[in-house]
């Protein structure tokens, strides 16, 4: 019989569960964070001035509270999706498919 090992050596680290809309609850280490959601690439890029480009490329809401953000189930189904997460608790409030509007909270 093998000597008993502490659980973190055999079962991996305890992690947050993230609800993938395609696969259900999966451990955090399967996901990559994709940053703020609903940033729309300008339809006519040539019309933008420098300030507008800076807003699109660099300025972020950095919300303290409910934050709409992109996630990718990179080490699972590979799909992108959006989520509402409270950045003061890390609780997921909703997940929804990319391209759909932000749900009311």
């Amino acid at each position: 019989m093998r000597p008993r090992q502490p659980p973190w050596l055999t079962e991996g680290a305890p992690v947050l569960l993230i609800p993938c809309p395609y696969c259900g609850d999966r451990p955090e280490i399967e996901f990559t964070h994709g940053g703020q959601a609903h940033l729309v690439r300008p339809a006519r890029p040539a019309d933008l001035d420098d300030q507008a480009w800076a807003e699109f490329l660099y300025m972020r809401s950095n919300t303290k509270g409910v934050h709409a953000e992109r996630w990718r189930h990179a080490r699972g189904c590979g799909q992108f999706f959006n989520a509402l997460r409270d950045t003061t608790t890390d609780h997921f409030l909703a997940v929804y498919k990319s391209g759909t509007p932000r749900p009311a909270t």
């Binding site: 947050l16 955090e28 964070h33 660099y58 950095n62 303290k64 953000e69 950045t87 003061t88």
Partner: protein, 418 residues
Amino acid sequence: MSKQAFSGLSLIWRGLNRHRGWQNQWRKAIPKHRYDAIIIGGGGHGLGAAYYLAREHRLTNIAVLEKGWIGGGNTGRNTTIIRSNYLFNESAALYDHSLKMWENLSQVLNYNVMFSARGVMMLAHTVHDVQTSKRHIHANRCNGVDNEWLEPEQAKEFCPLLNIGDNIRYPVLGAALQRRGGTARHDAVAWGYARAADALGVDIIENCEVTGIRCDAHGVAALETTRGVIESRKVGVSAAGHSSVVLGMAGVKLPLESFPLQALVSEPIKPVFPCVVMSNTIHAYISQSDKGELVIGAGTDAYTSYTQRGALHINMHTLDAVCELFPTFRRLRMLRNWGGIVDVTPDRSPIIAKTPVPGLYVNCGWGTGGFKATPGSAHLFAWTMAHDEPHPINAPFTIERFRDGYLIDEAAAAAVAH
């Protein structure tokens, strides 16, 4: 200086009197109705800025507002590494300005910040690492910043516990050593600045959270706080991970995202570790505090958060690397871990600048490496607030650089652990 200056003699004298009669290091100030300048954020950067405003720019009516307690944010949560071996001219000037101030900070503040120039050694594990390390060394030397290349045997001589064998996944191929780098005692930095600023008349107001910023046609006018409305025409925001939140109250958007950055310490052991070792490739840095604990840290967590805690697997990844580099430490127990909220800019360089609102200034974006810059950052921020224009050293570190394309892109190229 304050009425109770510290010296060897005063320590002996108080010791003979059973240490009775020590006074509080700073007053518990009651907020006044109006100040000439207010700093939001009572960490090292904020307290230091208030101190330099009072000492070098002769402002006397200054307050520091802190929503919690002094030094309870990132100043008390970092791994206290100090170095200035940054790649670009702008960064090297900024961080070396700070490093030079560290060297006599204890004397200036009359408070032992325990700065120890024990050397910061950054390991190279791949051919690419070796090339970029050497490029850094040459760039640093051109900027007057000391940095030297060590072969693996020399690295082991400098840090005898280092495993330079070929039995690990990423063997050590060499290291870059900045001998002037080192560590300091993080709490002492906050307390030392608080005490010195208080002695110059600065009001340090703890448990006072800013809830709103009032502006009028001339710019910033007053702050709404949990302890009432306080008027001021000059406000500096030095709020680290909460900079976006505070400046959002004045309608200023920043290119920041706030992430948890974790650190952990081992149980205390006898002195075994004479320097600071960092490895960007396998994500770990480690030093030993004067208490004997090994202080360990690495990169930020994977997603934005304000929770001041992070995922355990991030720490485990760091410890994997530490145990490979220092097999002796495998049997150590970790005593505690914690997280702080760091504000990261897209180019990993800070912002010390005026904002679009007149009278409102910001010192933010220090990301994972703000502690080392504490004295220099505070000094330059105070200059910027007093003169209403940036000092030549922090002139490149504006918000507008993201609009104008003058990024100081340490993210891709610097010797920075992310």
